[in-house]
């Protein structure tokens, strides 16, 4: 059984198609491992019994032409799943059961996959360590008391810990790539408009994007192929020609020009990150690509810009959680009192902080100085990339400025926590695709990731580069199963 959970998605699909494994075998194996892994706290809600029923049903009449035939899969609890509780990691939605399915998860089930459960995340995806979840911390399978990163911390932990063969997260400022980097897995944030936002609990609408988190690049490409569809229910969904990412995946990246942006060499960056980056540069060269030094001059403004735009949108997006229609409701003397109590009790500290920041930057008198200026800077950041892409095909950077940190280490220092996103937020602001791949270990043996940023809609290219580098890096995640009961 333990063999099953060690297999990659691609292997499992192959084994089910060859009838070497049944969906029931696979589903059972992941359920059993998940059940032994409660210490990771990766799940908010499990759906194990129905999953097993679905697997048995699948096996009775298996459709092996599907891309994810009978594959069990847990997903981040930000995706609305029909008849399965969806909390967004928040007390305010702790009793919310959607009557509808997000487009992204719908696409996954339509290809034969089976929901295992809903994975822990930072509350409303606001956080970089999964410590803001109302449902508690998530442990990083790499080491005890280590954060898995965030906000898709439960997703990262579940893939690295082999509780699910693959998963989906959402990435607003790095929420897929940073936890992927912290847990030694692959995470792709697609181009804005690639995956529908319909049915995903919104954090910051102009930045949110769903994407795959996987054990390897090929699995990642396969899931991206499934989830990326044009959706008329999302006005920001873009109708472009989507590749068959897994079929078209190639390690041949000869002659590709890879940009190395000098502005990502930030003050105080640990030497091991710098070393990792240099190694990455060597890897791409070994693959036959060419590296070119480039400049993205407005990079240092990305983080402050992000922490204006994202909270502004969030403050408005979260106004609907008012206790009137669904979710948590506190008793109040009158409407205003009910609102205040519901929202004070229902939202955690980090969410409240961001609502306040967002409300402030949108207030009359401050709007021009903050929100409007941030929008202008956002445009400049995008222009930086446009300019760079005249010379290069992709950009290589570290994924994060450090490896995973200890639980509680940064909870009292929000700014230091926000600095985690320094290499990932520019990508969201510019709406570009970015992938994090595991590329090495730090001195403590914790994984470190490298990020490849692509042109808009050029997911295939960064997947190919990642695929080529993956072979050279030959990364092995050091999982000891310390949490297994």
């Amino acid at each position: 059984m333990s063999d099953i959970t060690k297999q990659s998605l691609t292997e499992l699909v192959e084994n089910i198609k060859n009838k070497k494994l049944s969906s029931t075998d696979v589903t059972k194996a992941f359920i059993q491992r998940s059940e032994k892994s409660s210490e990771l706290n990766a799940y908010i809600t499990d759906d194990f019994a129905p999953a097993l029923d679905k697997a048995k049903k699948f096996d009775q009449n298996p459709n092996l032409d599907l891309k994810l035939p009978g594959i069990p899969m847990a997903v981040k609890d930000l995706f609305c799943t029909k008849n399965v509780k969806t909390t967004a990691g928040s007390k305010i939605l702790n009793n919310f059961v959607p009557t509808y399915e997000s487009t992204v998860t719908e696409n996954i089930w339509n290809e034969g996959a089976i929901l295992l459960g809903k994975l822990n995340c930072d509350e409303f995806a606001m956080g970089s360590s999964n410590e803001t979840s109302h449902f508690g911390n998530v442990q990083n399978p790499i080491d005890k008391n280590l954060v898995p990163g965030g906000s898709s911390g439960g997703s990262a932990s579940a893939v690295a810990g082999q509780l699910t063969p693959i998963t989906i997260g959402t990435d607003t400022g790095g929420s897929i790539r940073q936890p992927a980097s912290f847990t030694g897995i692959v995470g792709l944030k697609p181009t804005y408009g690639s995956c529908s936002r319909y049915g995903i609990v919104a954090f910051a609408s102009s930045l949110d994007q769903a994407g795959p988190m996987a054990q390897n690049v090929k699995d990642c490409a396969l899931l991206q192929e499934v989830i990326s569809t044009y959706d008329s229910k999302d006005s920001t969904s873009i109708n472009f020609k989507r590749n068959h990412y897994s079929k078209e995946l190639t390690k041949n990246i000869k002659g590709k020009k890879i940009g190395i942006p000098k502005e990502y060499r930030v003050d105080g960056m640990p030497k091991e990150i710098e070393d990792l980056w240099q190694k990455g540069i060597q890897y791409v060269k070994d693959c036959g690509a060419e590296t070119i030094d480039i400049s993205l001059p407005h990079t240092s403004y990305a983080l402050p810009t992000y922490y204006i735009v994202a909270p502004a949108e969030a403050s408005s997006n979260l106004a609907r959680y008012d206790g009137v229609k669904y979710g948590y409701r506190a008793k109040g003397e009158n409407l205003i009192d009910m609102y205040e109590k519901t929202r004070s009790e229902g939202f955690g500290a980090e969410v409240q902080r961001r609502i306040m920041i967002g409300t402030y930057v949108l207030s009359s008198g401050y709007y021009d100085a903050y929100y409007l200026k941030a929008q202008k800077v956002r445009k400049l950041i995008k222009n930086d990339f446009d300019e760079a892409y005249k010379k290069v095909d992709a950009i290589l950077t570290p994924s994060t400025p450090s490896s995973a940190f200890k639980i509680g280490e940064k909870t009292n220092d929000p700014v230091s926590m926000y600095l985690n996103d320094i290499f990932t937020v520019p990508v969201n602001l510019a709406g570009l695709p970015g992938i994090s791949i595991p590329a090495g270990h730090d001195t403590k043996g914790y994984p470190l990731g490298l990020q490849i940023i692509g042109k808009a809609f050029d997911e295939q290219n960064i997947l190919n580069i990642a695929f080529a580098m993956e072979e050279k890096i030959n990364f092995k995640n050091k999982i000891t199963d310390w949490w297994i009961k």
Binding site: F79, C80, T86, A88, L93, F96, P98, T99, Y100, S102, R197, Y198, G199, I200, V201, A202, A204, S205, S206, S232, K233, D234, S235, T236, A312, E313, S315, S316, L318, A319, R320, D322, V324, K325, Y326, L335, Y339, T359, L362, S363, S364, Y367, Y371
Partner: protein
């Protein structure tokens, strides 16, 4: 009040004040479904039966623009002679209320879909032009119901998300009468276009009224107050009258006017403060990140322009030229699209040898009277345009007299009967055979020899007596003109 010069002024001692009014009209877009969802917009449904997940702001739900509503707004803009903005932006207007599920209203703030335009009002002392500042699209909120339960407020979200056009006028209006004419003109234009049904009872048309006063002749504006959500023209006029007088009184007492939002109490006929400028909401407008800026092409606008029907101003001009109507008559006929339609159908059905003047008199006279007394719209007229046209032709060609026509018309009302048939069945056809009438008159003269002699001796009044007798003898069917001619000859 000074009615001289038809100027609306408020007098206090030696001072005269002019009233300055601007309107923000909220017109519900005539559409099957809501602005950002596919729920029905039908009025009067059971509470909360026309609510989609988008309208109720469920997590992860996203707005998708209803293209038909965009077309309706652009058409209205064209009808208001306004600039159509090829790029417009939907913004979020953020505030908390129980009947606002999203916690924000999607509206247009900086970049509305329609820019400056104008409408022409026909006032008794001539035409008046009123400037339009802008027209923007926005979602309606739901409805809070406070009086069904002593403890709780109920919320009905059927209206939540319905498309509204907010039409903002320039502060060009100067009296309650002009406001009346302005609202009616807007309503008329939108009904011609089919972009708003203008039904004020159902709340399809309501307005926020901005009122300020200033000494007559002053060029500067006074401090304005906004009276929220007034839903009938009569109430708008009453509210303006009360509010203008209130402001003048404050000035006369040496006090200042606070810029504030006020409510009109229809029972007490007064406005009262709702919130001051200091308490005004900070709506934190910002572009809705769920919606891309709305771009429309020149071609799109041109196609809509080609789709615009003849509007009241043009129709009026044509009626005057083509049918030789007076401006007054033309106005009455064009102001309501259904009246214009009815009239034009009557004209068409009357055929070649038609008497348009007669038709106009009958529409504005007999038909309007019947509609009024029955409380019907002309679209519900008990007499069809076709039968109405036949009736007018029967008068015109002398088949029946005007007097008989009134009898026939009354019979037509019950079940839209064919007047030709009524005339035949009831034998109401006018007697125009001179020989038959001569015989009839000979008989009357014979029976009233003495009176005939008196008439000949100079008692001319008696001519009427003979006409009356002749009409009576013919059962009212005799052609009065012929009767006159024959009597003059015989007596």
């Amino acid at each position: 009040m000074n009615k001289k010069n038809t100027e609306y002024l408020i007098n206090r001692k030696d001072n005269q004040y002019e009233v300055v009014i601007g309107l923000e009209v909220h017109a519900q877009v005539l559409s099957e479904s809501k602005l950002f969802s596919s729920s029905s917009t039908k009025f009067g449904a059971e509470p909360n039966t026309q609510v989609s997940l988008v309208d109720a702001a469920f997590p992860g739900m996203l707005p998708v623009i209803n293209e038909f509503c965009i077309k309706q707004a652009i058409k209205t803009g064209i009808g208001l002679n306004a600039k159509i903005n090829k790029r417009s932006v939907f913004d979020r207007k953020n505030y908390f209320y129980a009947d606002l599920p999203q916690g924000y209203q999607i509206s247009q703030f900086k970049d509305p879909i329609v820019g400056e335009g104008k409408v022409i009002l026909d006032m008794p002392n001539g035409q008046k032009e009123v400037g339009i500042e802008r027209l923007h699209l926005e979602q309606d909120a739901g409805k809070s119901i406070h009086d069904l339960d002593p403890q709780n407020t109920f919320v009905d979200l059927n209206r939540s998300g319905v498309a509204l056009m907010e039409i903002v006028s320039k502060p060009d209006l100067r009296s309650p009468d002009e406001v009346n004419a302005y609202i009616k003109k807007l309503r008329s234009i939108m009904r011609y276009l089919g972009t708003c049904d203008g039904n004020m009872q159902e709340g399809s048309l309501r307005a926020d009224v901005n009122v300020s006063v200033r000494p007559k002749g002053s060029k500067e504006f006074g401090t304005r107050c906004e009276i929220k959500n007034v839903n009938s023209i009569k109430f708008m006029q009453m509210a303006i009258e009360y509010e203008a007088n209130r402001q003048v009184d404050l000035i006369e007492e040496g006090k200042t006017i606070d810029q504030e939002t006020r409510l009109f109490d229809t029972k007490k006929n007064e406005t009262r403060s709702m919130r001051s400028k200091e308490d005004a909401h900070d709506y934190r407008y910002f572009p809705d990140p769920d919606l891309l800026p709305l771009e429309v092409s020149e071609k799109f606008i041109e196609e809509l322009k080609n789709d615009i029907p003849e509007l009241p101003d043009d129709k009026k001009k044509r009626f005057i030229e083509e049918f030789k109507l007076s401006p007054y008559e033309a106005n009455i006929l064009v102001s309501d699209i259904d009246t214009a339609k009815y009239f034009e159908e009557v004209v068409a059905k009357m055929g070649k040898n038609k008497d348009i003047k007669l038709a106009v008199n009958w529409i504005t006279g007999e038909l309007f009277a019947v509609l009024n007394s029955k409380g019907l719209e002309i679209s519900q007229s008990p007499v069809s345009a076709k039968n109405f046209a036949i009736l007018i032709n029967l008068i015109k060609n002398g088949t029946i007299s005007g007097k008989i026509a009134k009898t026939v018309f009354e019979l037509m009302i019950d079940g839209d009967k064919d007047p030709q048939k009524i005339v035949e069945e009831k034998g109401l056809k006018q007697q125009s055979d001179p020989k038959a009438l001569e015989a009839l008159i000979d008989k009357i003269i014979n029976e009233n020899r003495e009176k005939a002699i008196e008439y000949k001796q100079g008692k001319e009044k008696l001519f009427g007596f003979f006409v009356g007798q002749a009409m009576k003898a013919s059962g009212g069917k005799a052609n009065p003109q012929l009767i006159n001619e024959i009597l003059k000859k015989k007596l």
